[in-house]
């Protein structure tokens, strides 16, 4: 009775949006945000899986995703700060050029 | 420790000694190199004597697990070519006495290593040893051209290396194919040529194996479409380099055809005869035409050697004793005559710092002896009787004529074009009004005279007594070309001429 199939479709859609965000936006923060979206979508799929099979394992796995996402954001943003300090911008294309000098 | 290993070891040790003597002054290095090459000539002459009694063999196991044996063998053909290598080695050392100023030690090391590679190629009867020698030749030549070359030496050195290396890849594939076929048929793994000749391959297999070998050797000879590396390599190589390149490296290609391609795949050889003959004849004409249009002395001589090598390959393609002897003779003569022309080009460049015909003209009054030598070698390269080239060309044309009259006729006219460019070499440099650009050119000193003199004497001796080269050969035709003989019907039919009795060479040497 759980809408698990639909949840899986939803996670697919969310994941696609995350990927598009990652490719399209040129700002580093948006890249980090898109990673968050993708992680979240993956988590949703896990939970949908556990709903389908009735085992808790799916949900356990989501619990693991949370710390990973947290750690990832922590370091990501720290790096973003340092990059911003050095390159005065967060535009990935500009950073690529600056990095080369 | 028979004479064969000595022949390979002497130049290698010479190279080592030169490297060690590098610290001392240049002349000791040159002395060591000269000593090594002179010893090498002595050994080579000893080999010629020894071979008269029958082929010398020296065989040790090298890598038994894979079947590679250290198998050196010398019959008539190999002995002559080794002698040619030795002689050209001496001349090369003599001639680069004053030309090579910087890094003299490494120059001689590379040159002697090159000679080792060449001798190894001529003596090896084991496919892998042959291939080892084949690759060993490439590297020193690359450095000789690349380091001591002239203007754009890098381009030519790389071009030379890539061309030959690509060719040798095809060759390796073909050889390995035969190796595995042999292993499949007999269960034992062996790289020895004698064994591999026993593999029975279907005609189509043979065709492909011969194609692989032919491409590898055609690049080296060079035959028509694959020849563009030669003019560049020659113009940029130092004198000794282009002398060895013209005198010896081109012969390794032809020798490879004779020693490995023809015996290993007889049907392949007979199937390829029309292509080989066609390319050879076209090469003769094409080389001559292109030579005439050149403005650079060495480039002209390089194209002329394409034309001469066309004769050699035609001699092979014709397949009868006359063609065969003509091919071997022409190889030796080309080494001497074109070697001489390159020496003179080097001497001229040393004096005038240029090779282009526009700058030359009217030099005969200033350098009469060099002019005399140039006249002799120009005439030798166009095949004046009295020099060996005439005999070589006569045998090849005679062989082609007896095979198919129109082939002989067409090749005959190739000789006319040879005359046109050879005379041009002499006229453009020596004749004409007194040269304004060069004033005080000094004539050749005793050392250069001896180098050129050796070549002149050898050419005249071969010209008047060609049996010095062809008698040791009496072993070769029977062993080497039985395959063509054994299958004379298809060859003759291929050629459209009535099958001849004399076609089968193996019956008796004099039959045809």
């Amino acid at each position: 009775m759980f809408p698990a199939n639909e949840a899986l479709i939803l996670s697919a859609i969310l994941f696609s949006l995350g990927v598009i965000a990652f490719i399209v936006r040129r700002n580093l923060l948006y890249t980090l945000m898109s990673v968050e979206i993708m992680l979240n979508a993956a988590g949703l799929a896990f939970v949908a899986g556990s709903a389908i099979h009735g085992q808790p394992d799916g949900q356990v796995f989501f619990m693991f995703i949370l710390p990973v996402a947290a750690a990832e954001v922590a370091i990501g943003l720290a790096l973003a700060l340092l990059i911003f300090k050095r390159c005065k911008t967060l535009d990935l294309w500009a950073i690529a050029r600056i990095k080369e000098e | 420790m028979t004479i064969l290993t000595l022949l390979v070891a002497v130049p290698a040790l010479g190279a080592l000694l030169c490297a060690l003597a590098g610290k001392t002054n240049a002349n000791t290095v040159r002395g060591v190199a000269l000593g090594a090459t002179l010893l090498h000539v002595a050994l080579a002459i000893g080999l010629i004597g020894a071979v008269a009694g029958g082929p010398l063999i020296e065989r040790h196991l090298w890598i038994p697990s894979v079947g590679i044996t250290y198998h050196l063998e010398a019959d008539g053909l190999s002995a002559i070519l080794v002698l040619l290598t030795a002689v050209i080695g001496v001349v090369a050392v003599l001639i680069s006495w004053s030309e090579i100023r910087e890094r003299v030690a490494s120059f001689h090391v590379w040159m002697l290593l090159l000679l080792t590679g060449i001798v190894l190629v001529f003596l090896a009867r084991d496919i892998m040893l042959f291939y080892f020698g084949w690759e060993l030749m490439l590297v020193p030549m690359f450095f000789l051209i690349g380091v001591w070359g002239h203007e754009d030496k890098l381009y030519s050195a790389v071009k030379f290396f890539l061309f030959t290396f690509a060719g040798s890849v095809f060759m390796l594939i073909a050889l390995l194919y035969v190796y595995f076929q042999y292993a499949a048929q007999t269960g034992t793994y062996s790289f020895a040529l004698a064994d591999l000749m026993k593999t029975s391959l279907s005609p189509t297999e043979q065709w492909w194996v011969f194609l692989g070998l032919f491409v590898g050797f055609a690049v080296k000879i060079p035959l028509f479409p694959l020849h563009t590396w030669l003019p560049d390599a020659h113009t940029q190589a130092p004198t000794a380099g282009s002398l060895i390149l013209a005198g010896l490296l081109l012969k390794t290609g032809v020798y490879g055809l004779m020693r490995f391609a023809m015996p290993l795949t007889p049907e392949g050889y007979t199937a390829f005869i029309p292509l080989m003959a066609g390319l050879a004849v076209f090469g003769i004409f094409y080389g001559a035409w292109a030579a005439f249009a050149q403005r650079d002395f060495k480039r002209l001589v390089a194209y002329s050697s394409i034309s001469h090598l066309g004769f050699v390959v035609l001699g092979l393609a014709v397949g009868n004793a006359a063609g065969y002897k003509g091919a071997v003779l022409q190889m030796v003569n080309h080494g001497l005559a074109t070697g001489g022309l390159f020496l003179i080009a080097g001497l001229l460049q040393e004096r005038t710092h240029t090779r282009s015909f526009e700058m030359f003209g009217g030099l005969w009054r200033q350098i009469p002896t060099l002019g005399g030598f140039l006249l002799f070698f120009a005439l030798a390269s166009l095949g004046i009787p009295g020099t060996g080239n005439f005999i070589g060309e006569l045998y090849v044309i005679g062989g082609a004529f007896s095979r198919a009259w129109w082939l002989g006729a067409v090749t005959g006219f190739g000789v006319l074009f040879a005359a046109i460019y050879s005379l041009r070499v002499f006229l453009a440099t020596m004749h004409g009004p007194e040269s304004k650009t060069f004033r005080k050119l000094h004539d050749t000193n005793w050392r250069e005279n001896t180098a050129l003199g050796i070549l002149v004497v050898l050419l005249v001796v071969i010209g008047f007594y060609p049996r010095t080269v062809t008698t040791p050969l009496h072993f070769a035709p029977d062993q080497l070309v039985p395959a063509a003989g054994r299958d004379s019907r298809s060859a003759a039919a291929m050629y459209g001429s009535a099958p001849k009795t004399g076609m089968a060479v193996h019956t008796s040497e004099g039959a045809h």
């Binding site: 990927v19 | 003019p231 005439f292 004793a321 006319l416 004749h431 008047f464």
Partner: protein, 662 residues
């Protein structure tokens, strides 16, 4: 002396060869005169030894004596077997006598003529080498060894024509001579190879050709019938003869070869080398008798060339070019003689011609030497007084050349003309054309005499009597020019007639084309009378046109003195200019062969640079292209990497999704 009493034949060519070697190696350490002395003594000794051999040959008991001597085997590859062997029979005797005898005289003459020239040592070295090569040519016992002499002679003519190499046109003339003769040599080589396959090429035994003529098909490679093959071989050998003896299609080089010093023209381009073709055809007479078509071709080439050269000689302004065209014409006669089967008479004409043509050339040389290098006949004149000795000698030579009665030229030319009418190979057309050419010959010879020696003094040089060495040797030649004819008096002469033919009987005996018609002695006498009338008429016409007071005919385009030999059109009349330029063969050959070859060679080096290298450069370009393509994916932008990864994922899923179906 060898064991069986045969004299050491190899000594004859060895002496001049040794002389040449000594001169080349050591003469630069001595003063130039020594080179001249070595050269003369070498040729002189060789001449003496030839005399000894001839004496032994003539006095040799036995029916058809000939000496043979084999030194070592030279070639041994299947059909191409030949050894370094010498043959000395009657024909060789004649040729060696001429080569060494006339050669010796010319060497004496050139000691004086070339004194002071900076290339004197080189000149004598090459002259000796030439004599050695010519002796090898005539004394070889097989065609391959003869070919060695054949090309050696061609190569020496290249050296000697290009003696004054400072001037560019001399080098061009030398190269032209060498290349045209070499073209002929190729035909000869192919002909010799064909003969080698058919019946062997040793001159000792030519019977093989008879057997081949009988066979309807020759088994070896060709499958063609015997006679056809013999004809082809004959034509090929004729091609070789044409090249070396400057016959019709390949004659353009001889007039330009006059760029060489005069003794060279005398020795090489008059007496010896140019007659090599005659020797070749004489040696292969068995082949030609067996191939009548080839023989007819020989006759036609001979008479055609004779007529062509005679017309050209009429209008030349350079004294040496007149003699050059005259030489071509006279060799045409010899070839005509061979062509009608009168082999021994062809050689007789060679024998007499060698003397009087060498004489004319040397006398012309003396004239040029006296006038300090002036060669244009219209700038000479009235030299009769100042160069009396030379004039007398020149007159004897001219008389012989024109064929005035009782001179050597008369007997030899008349015999050839008679045989061209009476033998079974001859026909009236040949005889008629021969007679017309004889008339033209007389005209241009005496034109030369009158313009150069008679009339008013036109040259501004002070003419002084040349030194004795430039005139004395000429006297010997003059003697032979006048009296050599008596060696072969016509048959109608009762006493000692046709000595020459009997002498050469052993060599040409059974093949001598007995004149079928043989209109008997009366016919021969009539023909002799006719040729005397013709030569006298020629003298008369020449006198009418060119006597001292007459205007210059044909009318010159520019002021008479200025026409240098190089200007292509010295006359007003276009026909005269056309004849002057040798029927424009040069322009035709230049357009047909030289220019296309230059373009062809330019094109082939272009093909090499652009097309073949292009292909390999292309492969390099492909590699560079792929490299830049891949570079696009590494441009550092994160989003590009993500896109690629996405694409990868997509491809993966598609393959998996549809993969299941495979």
């Amino acid at each position: 002396m060898t064991d069986n009493g045969v004299p050491a034949l190899w000594l004859v060519p060895a002496l001049p060869a040794a002389g040449a070697l000594i001169i080349f190696l050591f003469s630069k350490f001595w003063n130039p005169r020594v080179a001249g002395r070595i050269a003369c003594s070498a040729v002189g000794l060789s001449f003496l030894w030839v005399l000894v051999c001839s004496y032994m040959l003539i006095t040799w008991p036995g029916e058809a004596p000939r000496f043979t001597q084999k030194l070592w085997t030279w070639l041994d590859a299947g059909t191409i077997t030949a050894d370094v062997g010498f043959l000395f029979d009657q024909v060789t005797l004649v040729f060696t006598l001429v080569v060494t005898g006339v050669g010796f005289i010319i060497h004496l003459y050139s000691v004086a003529y070339m004194r002071g020239d900076d290339g004197e040592r080189r000149f004598f070295g090459y002259m000796n080498l030439f004599v050695a090569a010519m002796l090898v040519l005539v004394m070889a016992d097989n065609a391959f060894f003869m070919f060695l002499g054949w090309e050696g002679v061609g190569c020496c003519s290249f050296f000697l024509i290009g003696h004054f190499y400072q001037k560019q046109e001399n080098c061009a003339a030398a190269t032209k001579a060498f290349l045209v003769t070499r073209l002929g040599d190729i035909f000869l080589l192919l002909g010799v190879l064909l003969c080698a396959k058919l019946a062997g090429v040793s001159f000792l035994d030519l019977s093989g050709f008879e057997k081949v003529a009988g066979m309807d098909s020759v088994p070896q490679a060709f499958g063609a019938s015997g006679p056809l093959l013999l004809t082809i071989a004959g034509l090929l050998l004729l091609g070789g003869a044409m090249g070396k003896s400057a016959q019709l299609p390949l004659q353009t080089w001889l007039p330009d070869a006059m760029a060489g010093p005069t003794p060279v023209s005398a020795l090489i381009h008059a007496a010896t080398m140019v007659t090599a073709g005659v020797y070749l055809i004489a040696r292969f007479h068995v082949l030609y008798v067996m191939a009548p078509v080839a023989l007819a071709a020989v006759a036609m080439v001979g008479v055609g060339t004779a007529f062509y050269a005679a017309t050209c000689a009429l209008v030349q302004t350079d004294i040496k070019r007149i003699l050059a065209y005259s030489t071509i014409s006279q060799i045409g006669y010899m070839i005509l003689g061979l062509g009608v089967g009168a082999f021994s008479l062809g050689l007789f004409h060679f024998f007499t011609h060698a003397f009087y043509k060498a004489l004319l050339f040397l006398a012309a040389g003396t004239v040029i030497h006296a006038l300090h290098g002036e060669q244009n006949i219209y700038k000479m004149g009235g030299l009769k007084a100042s160069l009396r000795g030379t004039y007398l000698v020149f007159l004897c030579g001219a008389a012989a050349l024109a064929g005035l009665p009782l001179t050597a030229g008369f007997f030899s030319k008349d015999a050839i003309l008679w045989y061209s009418l009476s033998t079974k190979y001859g026909n009236p057309a040949l005889f008629a054309l021969g007679m017309v050419t004889a008339l033209l010959t007389a005209i241009y010879t005496f034109r030369l005499i009158f313009v150069v020696f008679h009339g008013t003094e036109r040259s501004h040089h002070h003419v002084h009597e040349p030194e004795p060495l430039l005139v004395k040797p000429l006297a010997v030649l003059a003697f032979f020019a006048l009296f050599a004819g008596f060696l072969n008096l016509p048959h109608f002469v009762p006493v000692l007639s046709a000595k020459w033919e009997h002498f050469l009987e052993p060599v040409f005996g059974h093949y001598h084309a007995h004149p079928a018609g043989y209109g008997g002695k009366a016919g021969e006498a009539l023909a002799a009378l006719l040729s005397t009338v013709v030569s006298l008429a020629g003298l008369f016409i020449a006198w009418k046109l060119y006597h001292p007071g007459a205007a210059v005919v044909p009318v010159p385009a520019m002021e008479i003195g200025e026409s240098e030999t190089s200007t292509p059109a010295p006359y007003k009349a276009s026909l005269a200019n056309w004849l002057y330029r040798g029927w424009d063969f040069d322009r035709a050959y230049d357009a047909a062969f030289v220019r296309p070859f230059r373009r062809l060679s330019g094109m082939s080096s272009w093909v090499d640079r652009v097309i073949i290298d292009g292909v390999f450069e292309l492969s390099a370009a492909i590699v560079r292209g792929v490299h830049s393509l891949l570079l696009a994916f590494q441009n550092g932008r994160l989003s590009r990497y993500a896109l690629v990864m996405l694409f990868g994922a997509l491809a993966g899923t598609i393959i998996l999704f549809f993969g299941r179906g495979w």
